[in-house]
């Protein structure tokens, strides 16, 4: 399983705008590059990223071959309740990765 790194505040005030940073290891092979024998290297990229906050989708992104290796996505949300942030990455060749972090809202 790919290694992912989440940076989100563990604690926030109710109504506070918080930044969530996500980084995942992935080669993001474009499918356009030839290998040393001239044959194209098959595409292998992450195609989708979804973040859910207590089960509710708050952010979704589609990824394409022009996105660099080890995609780093950051976005903002409003901290409105204590709970869990779930992250999911879906890609070519059946790639999936999940991660979750807890947040306490005071």
């Amino acid at each position: 399983m790919a290694r992912a790194l989440i940076n989100a505040p563990a604690k926030a005030k109710r109504g506070e705008v918080i930044e969530i940073k996500t980084l995942i290891s992935h080669i993001m092979e474009t499918g356009f590059r030839p290998d040393s024998t001239g044959k194209p290297v098959p595409r292998d990229i992450i195609t989708e990223f979804i973040c859910k906050y207590n089960g509710e989708e708050i952010f979704r992104a589609e990824l394409f071959p022009a996105i660099a290796a080890n995609p780093f996505l950051t976005f903002f949300t409003v901290a409105d309740e204590t709970g869990t942030l779930n992250f999911e990455w879906i890609g070519d060749n059946g790639f999936t990765a999940t991660e979750s972090v807890n947040i306490t809202v005071e």
Binding site: L5, N7, L23
Partner: protein
């Protein structure tokens, strides 16, 4: 001035520029200072620095038993966070058994073959980059401290010659860019002073972590010079000279560069 005299004068000026002295110690700048704000931000925040992914892998590798001896790095070295502090700042270092300096990659592989009795890791393999980045990170912020003693001096001198002598089809020396023309642009990119303060580092162009030898081989290729194979003594001598040239500058490993 007659025309031949003017030509001679221009040649004399160019000759003087080519022979410019070393950068004064106080005027040295890390490649970090030539980077865009966004790239600096990536290096400053470990959770945004992709090299952290390798460092996290190495925390696991450090504990993993390897080879026929069934030993892990931790079995000898204990906790890297305390026991590896300052180590990378001293490499390349003189190795008595080999009678010459070795770099951190070679040190890891000597441990693998002699202590763990495992096969050496390939240069630029994920594992070797991870382990060197992990060991390097323990020296972050510490000054580069290369011993300049009688053992090291001949190799340091060989590295200096490699840095200052013209080579390749473009007939360029490393010093012409990195001593004489740093701060200028080469095809739109800033020419840094060439201090290897953050290796192995994540280069956005490579989209991966890479060693100093990879960077040096890239430069040599660009100069259309002989690109020595990984682990060649010429490259280690050059690494040694560059680290000595950056003595006292803080280690940034694992850095980010454009």
């Amino acid at each position: 001035m007659t025309r031949p005299a003017a030509v001679l004068f221009v040649i004399a000026v160019l000759g003087a520029a080519a022979a410019a002295a070393d950068i004064p110690l106080a005027e040295r700048k890390s490649g970090y200072e030539f980077m865009a704000r966004e790239t600096r931000a990536m290096q400053d925040d470990d959770s945004a620095n992709p090299a952290t992914l390798w460092v996290l892998d190495a925390e696991t590798l450090w504990q993993r038993k390897e080879g026929s001896a069934g030993k892990s790095c931790a079995d000898c070295h204990g906790d890297a966070r305390t026991n590896m502090r300052g180590v990378a700042a001293r490499y390349p270092a003189f190795n008595e058994a080999r009678g010459r300096p070795i770099d951190l990659e070679q040190r890891v592989n000597i441990c693998r073959t002699e202590q763990q009795r495992a096969t050496p890791l390939a240069f630029e393999s994920k594992e070797l980059l991870a382990l060197t980045a992990y060991v390097g990170q323990q020296s972050r912020g510490m000054p580069i401290d290369i011993a300049n003693d009688a053992h090291i001096r001949p190799f340091l001198e060989a590295g200096r010659v490699m840095f200052t002598e013209r080579q390749g089809q473009l007939n360029l020396s490393c010093a012409q860019c990195h001593d004489d023309n740093w701060g200028q642009k080469l095809a739109g990119a800033a020419i840094p002073q060439g201090h290897p303060t953050g290796y192995p580092l994540y280069r956005l162009e490579w989209q991966t972590l890479g060693s100093l030898q990879r960077r040096l081989r890239n430069c040599l290729f660009g100069m259309r010079a002989v690109s020595y194979p990984y682990g060649a003594s010429e490259l280690v001598d050059l690494e040694l000279y560059l680290m000595w040239r950056a003595r006292g500058m803080p280690v940034e490993t694992p850095a980010v560069r454009p």
